[in-house]
Point group: D2
Chain length 156, copies 4
């Protein structure tokens, strides 16, 4: 998922993360390259898995958003590669999601080796809210409602 | 290609770009997603095509570097998604390559629709020099020599 | 593109190929894996590039089919891996397209090293005609018309 | 992983499968395409996940083979696409692994929707034994030993 529209959201995530979620996964052979570590673009694919599970855990599964005409395309992505990870390594990824302003969401991701805790990669993606035609929209009321519920669940 | 090692090279590319190279290519069906545009991680794969051709055009094909134990793994990547691109769209990508300090290379990429010139994506990757074991090295003399030659070719 | 529906079309392509088209392309770094050759699934992505260009060359660009509610999802795929291909190798792919029966298309693909002619991979994909909801359809009259024109162009 | 060498192993798997293993996984957004289902080549990437886990479950993790100079590159692959699967669908894949002759392994895969049991895809891959240079080898004694142990474990 990728979207039209520029963004200035390069700074640190504004405000406290609402969701923080951890998943583990293994590096697939298809994700390696001839350098023997994972190919750089895979980090963005893993980031997607992180936010998918973070949203599901908070009762807002992304698969239910698009049928309701709410899309969250990526408008900006950043990755720092901090350490190697090889085929079949078990990785742990922590996703933190927060609103930026009123109509953008930022997902911060950190990937470490599950066993040693060694850094593998860190970065973030910024997402706009759009309809199915790619037009920027305000997050609908039902989404904000669900988000607040998730936030309160977190705080309690 | 992805590498260990953190970087602070987030700012604008230091100094003038040595290489600037333009390629065109089409969006593959495999690069689209259900949103109907290209999936976000594909931009990083396209960036790789851009720097591969830019280096080849300047007499320093990357395929000849690794056998000589010079690797240029990505240590940082940034992408802004500026406009949609669909299956089979003809895209034009401009790659600019410059040294950052003594032992890093930065590639700036800009992708536009070949027909309309509309922005599709822009970003950069930062590369360290390492040996085959991922240890950071200084660029060898023969590489610097080739680079200077390319630079002079550009200026003339 | 992938579709519902089983197929028995495993035999040799029925009848003479209508289209035969050749393209060249280079192996991307993102397409390699830690074995140092291309990852096996990339062959299917390359096959797609082959049929895209073959259809375009014959005046039936696939990008114009889907907006007219004609989809050609893959219902079967077969690949034999015949030789290695490494990052940046220049490959040559020959695509032959033929109708199977009345409502299926079969694309045969052969990939060789462009320089040496050494075999890299060979295989085929079988495609059904469906509408946007995945329901099997008969190829529309305008498609058959275009196909015949292409066939005649080939024979003359 | 992909390998040199032709194969005639297109028939049904010879002899009873030694390993049979089941995993579940979700379709990633990066694995969809603009048709709204998964892109055809992803099936081969999923097949790899299936055999990775099947081998691990039987005490022969593939990640430990390559460091001992035993590679199992794919020499042939076949997929039939039997039904749609969308982003975030939970899929169940069954892997069966058997020897073909003395020096080849065949993995049969079947993917269904985890909830409904509806067919998604089925196919197989055939693997040769090679060393790191891609030369065909006989499976070493320690591998055969491990395999027999796994087989007996299965039978008891």
């Amino acid at each position: 998922m990728t979207a039209a529209g520029s963004t200035n959201a390069g700074g640190p995530a504004a405000g406290p993360a609402v969701f923080e979620h951890v998943i583990t996964f293994r590096v697939r052979y298809s994700e390696t390259d001839q350098m023997g570590t994972f190919y750089n673009s895979r980090a963005l694919e893993w980031f997607e898995c992180g936010r998918t599970e973070a949203l599901r855990a908070r009762g807002l599964p992304y698969a239910e958003l698009e049928p309701r005409d709410v899309f969250l395309p990526v408008v900006e992505a950043h990755v720092r590669y901090l350490g190697r990870a090889q085929y079949d390594d078990l990785l742990q990824m922590t996703t933190s999601i927060a609103f930026i302003g009123r109509a953008r969401v930022r997902c911060d991701e950190r990937i470490v080796q599950a066993d040693s805790g060694k850094n593998v990669a860190a970065g973030y993606t910024v997402h706009a809210f759009t309809d199915r035609n790619g037009r920027v929209i305000r997050p609908p009321a039902w989404f904000i409602e669900g988000w607040k519920k998730a936030k309160n669940a977190k705080q309690s």
